[in-house]
């Protein structure tokens, strides 16, 4: 055997464990999921398994709960993504302007992101609780009315978003700060010499130079936002009146509480399609405005 042949043989040996895992737990589930989505597959009725074509997809189209879940998911994304980007940008600019203590503040902003979603949910449920909650306790002490943080439709989703901002602001701020630090100082100095002021600097120099990173942050957070599950599930269980039940929670309940795996798989693909379309639109839109 030549050296190249031996190297290739060794390469296959090194690749094998991961390749096996990848085929079994990434490729195969994708195929299984596609098959399930065109089948009637109820775990409670194993004998009624059959091919039904596009029926599951048509059912979702006519399912009021599906649309309601989609609206809730949109509601989360529309509040969360712009809120996160604007506050994270503000934090990154603030951190960038700090002469001392920047690393400490940066670490403290990131710390909530290390908590897991269950702990975050428990903590904020205590803050938000109508009767025993900390926020209402403080409001009452200040002589103000208690707020229905989680029990009223118009409050519930913003409350969930506030908690999510606290939880995930640090990570996004760090990414934006790193991008800010890569902009050469000379560019700002030249602009200042030409008489540029604060807002113009931000609009004409900082934001355009940050565009690639902003694109990355907007797209990844939109994708993550469409998949939101833990935060509403733990704070409200999707209530009140299912107003905060997103698509992933509806898929979870369809597949694992009602055991309708076929319908759950079909809705997963529909969510994937929606996310992919949004990501592509954002990507091409922001790309075009860059050049």
């Amino acid at each position: 055997m030549t050296y190249t042949q031996r190297r290739s043989a060794a390469g296959l040996f090194f690749l094998a464990p991961y390749a096996f895992s990848f085929i079994a737990f990434i490729l195969l589930p994708i195929i299984v999921s596609l098959c399930l989505s065109v089948m009637q597959f109820d775990m409670t009725a194993p004998h009624s398994v059959k091919f039904v074509g596009a029926h599951n997809y048509q059912e979702a189209w006519k399912d009021d709960y599906f649309w309601q879940a989609l609206r809730a998911t949109f509601g989360y994304v529309v509040l969360m993504v712009p809120g996160l980007i604007v506050t994270a940008l503000g934090m990154a600019l603030g951190l960038h302007g700090m002469a001392r203590g920047r690393n400490t503040v940066r670490a403290l902003l990131f710390l909530p992101g290390m908590l897991n979603v269950a702990v975050t949910g428990i903590l904020w449920q205590w803050f938000y609780n109508g009767e025993f909650g900390l926020f209402n306790f403080v409001l009452k002490h200040l002589g103000l009315n208690a707020a229905p943080w989680l029990s009223e439709k118009s409050y519930a989703m913003p409350s969930i978003v506030i908690m999510s901002l606290w939880w995930s602001l640090g990570g996004t701020s760090i990414v934006l700060l790193a991008a800010l630090q890569q902009i050469p100082k000379q560019i700002f100095e030249a602009a200042l010499l030409d008489g540029a002021t604060g807002p113009a600097l931000l609009n004409r120099i900082t934001l355009p130079l940050l565009r690639p990173v902003l694109l990355f942050v907007v797209v990844t957070n939109t994708i993550a936002g469409f998949q939101v599950f833990g935060q509403p599930f733990l704070l409200t269980r999707g209530g009140p009146e299912l107003s905060t039940r997103g698509l992933v929670q509806y898929i979870y309940e369809t597949a694992f509480n009602n055991y309708r795996l076929g319908y759950g798989a079909a809705m997963s693909w529909m969510l994937f399609a929606i996310v992919a379309v949004f990501a592509l639109v954002q990507y091409s839109f922001l790309r075009r405005s860059t050049s």
Partner: protein, 274 residues
């Protein structure tokens, strides 16, 4: 003028940091309060410090075996981390250093698969794991987790950057592929391996949907799912649930404090690739 602005900015950012930290401080302080003081807080710092909440939790109970959940989480997160680092580094080594035929095509497929959102795998994995009789066992959370593409992608970037001269020198000295992997590639990638390890451990420790779907019996839960379900049945005993939260969080906060710089630096670089 500029100096004043800088001062204002520093004070403002310190205030923001304090606001961000305050829920965590409140959580820790409140977990040492007796129940009456939790619901009717007279001060932020407990008037009567008590360990009652922790004593209750660490005492063994059938409906909330907290210690067992902690062990489950440790076992699962550690196994996932070791296997992911091992499999991913071997695969990245095969693709970039041993130049296995079709390696770049394989890497392309792996990267493409990272675009597929995790929730899509939930239903088919449940069905497959039930056929394998892995449901309600740690294997359900460990083995599928080794298939993620991020580690292979990241380590490939690192290993590609190792100069070929080093490799050739090792080969001339009679180094086998295994020797190359163990003595050259792994040591040179140590920072990347550590980063991958930390991210994998934290991700596995904090996973919520996976154990919620794949684990059935109370004693097999991981910590996040255990305390979330426990909390929904004892939900107004905030002293207790906050103590569970403190215990669930402290291992990760220790990891964070030990590797703070590394975690923050690698977070920073994620957005800068393209």
């Amino acid at each position: 003028m500029n100096a004043v602005l800088k001062k204002v900015n520093s004070v403002f950012m310190s205030l923001v940091a304090a606001v961000f930290l305050s829920p965590i401080v409140l959580m820790i302080l409140t977990s040492f309060k007796p129940e009456a003081e939790v619901l009717n807080p007279a001060s932020v710092v407990p008037k009567h410090w008590t360990l009652a909440n922790y004593q209750y939790l660490l005492g063994w109970s059938e409906e909330a075996p907290f210690g067992r959940w902690l062990l489950n989480s440790f076992f699962i997160a550690t196994s996932v981390t070791l296997l992911v680092v091992l499999f991913s580094s071997m695969a990245a080594f095969a693709i970039t250093r041993l130049r296995v035929p079709g390696g770049n095509f394989v890497l392309g497929i792996i990267v493409a698969s990272m675009m597929v959102p995790g929730q899509l795998f939930l239903v088919p994995l449940y069905l497959m794991l039930s056929r394998l009789h892995w449901l309600d066992t740690p294997a359900a959370l460990i083995i599928p987790a080794t298939a993620g593409g991020f580690g292979v992608f990241m380590l490939s970037q690192f290993m590609r950057a190792i100069p070929e001269a080093i490799e050739e020198a090792a080969l001339i000295d009679g180094c086998t592929p295994m020797g190359l992997y163990l003595n050259v590639s792994l040591p040179l990638c140590a920072p990347a391996l550590a980063t991958l390890g930390i991210f994998t451990f934290v991700g596995s420790w904090n996973d919520f949907l996976g154990p919620l779907v794949f684990m059935d019996s109370v004693r097999n839960y991981t910590l996040p799912v255990g305390i979330a379900l426990y909390q929904s049945s004892y939900y107004t005993e905030y002293g207790l649930t906050l103590a569970t939260s403190v215990l669930a969080t402290s291992p990760l906060v220790l990891v964070f404090m030990a590797f703070q710089r590394q975690i923050v630096e690698s977070m920073s670089s994620t957005g800068l690739k393209d």
